[in-house]
Amino acid sequence: MRRVFLLAICVLSLGNVFAKDAAPLADDLVTEQRLISISEEMRCLVCQNESLAGSRSDLANDLRREIRILIKEGKSDDQIRSFMVERYGDFVLYRPPVKPVTWLLWIGPFVILGLGIAGLLMYLRRRNSRVPNVMLTDADNQKIDALLNASDKKEG
């Protein structure tokens, strides 16, 4: 019984031998840091709420590998970004470039803010002009003074 148990442990622990290796890091830290700074600004297309730097999807792995190769080839950050955009479109970038298609995206919120402020100003101005400009007569003033004095006395 004991032997069977030992054998089972041996066989089961074999599984670890075949476990997947961790994804290889680049040999040098400089490459790795550039990889992170570039891929943090990019969207993983498989899990769209994750950055390319943080995603564990298979495609993200491949793309990080590809970016490492490009870095080693001496490509600039801009060249690497355009490599990605040529293949996956502006959507991979978390900061889309300013161009006619994205004008609405960039300027839209400010236009809406401007409209809101204009609307508010118009509303306030109209409300102000609607408040009647009452002229107080001397009699009114005396009445007001009397009322104010009365309340002062009460408090005093």
């Binding site: 297309l45 491949d62 793309l63 996956y88 479109g89 502006d90």
Partner: protein, 176 residues
């Protein structure tokens, strides 16, 4: 003055329309920047015969379809009967790109389910897939006589899509 009370209602209806459009769009369908660009060149070994290669340049002069698939891809199985139908129509040659797969798995799947492809190119490490901007298998490209990508579909093909979009487009492209 009465119209003023309708303003919130109109704004609300506008909001509902925007949300309805937004909810019915698939966020995974990202417009490809490759439309109307030349199909990226590659040379890969064929799935069935590792000694033979395939390159898109060999398809110059005809309209053809490139379908990215893999044996591990569940949606590809769903798409499979539609591809068989597409191949049967003989509207255009269908070339497969076996993406990040194992040869034996891929061949086993074709043997079991039928092979709609004239041939499949074997992209074992997915490098060609990156050039084609593949991020969700299956993906389908229609490439014209001069090697320009004219249409891309992400996700499984459906009979509706064949009838409404792909057949008309193929007919139109073949005329030119």
């Amino acid at each position: 003055m009465k119209a003023k009370f309708l303003i919130p209602l109109i704004l609300f209806i506008g909001l509902v329309v925007f949300l309805a459009i937004g909810l019915n769009r698939d966020p995974h369908e990202v417009p490809s920047p490759l439309i109307n660009k030349s199909a990226p060149a590659f040379e890969l070994s064929q799935l069935a015969d590792a000694n033979k290669t395939f390159s898109p340049t060999s398809m110059k002069g005809q309209v053809w379809i490139l379908n990215v698939w893999a044996s591990w891809c569940v949606a590809c199985r769903e798409e499979h009967p539609v591809l068989v139908e597409l191949a049967k129509s003989q509207m255009a040659p269908v070339i497969g790109l076996d993406y990040k797969d194992k040869r034996e798995d891929a061949l086993a799947m074709l043997a079991k389910q039928g092979n709609p492809y004239i041939l499949s190119a074997f992209d074992g490490n997915g490098r060609v897939g990156i050039d084609y901007g593949v991020y969700g298998v299956p993906e389908t490209y229609i490439i014209d006589q001069v090697g320009v990508i004219r249409f891309k579909h992400i996700g499984p093909l459906t009979m509706d899509l064949l009838n409404q979009k792909i057949y008309p487009l193929l007919n139109e492209l073949k005329k030119s």
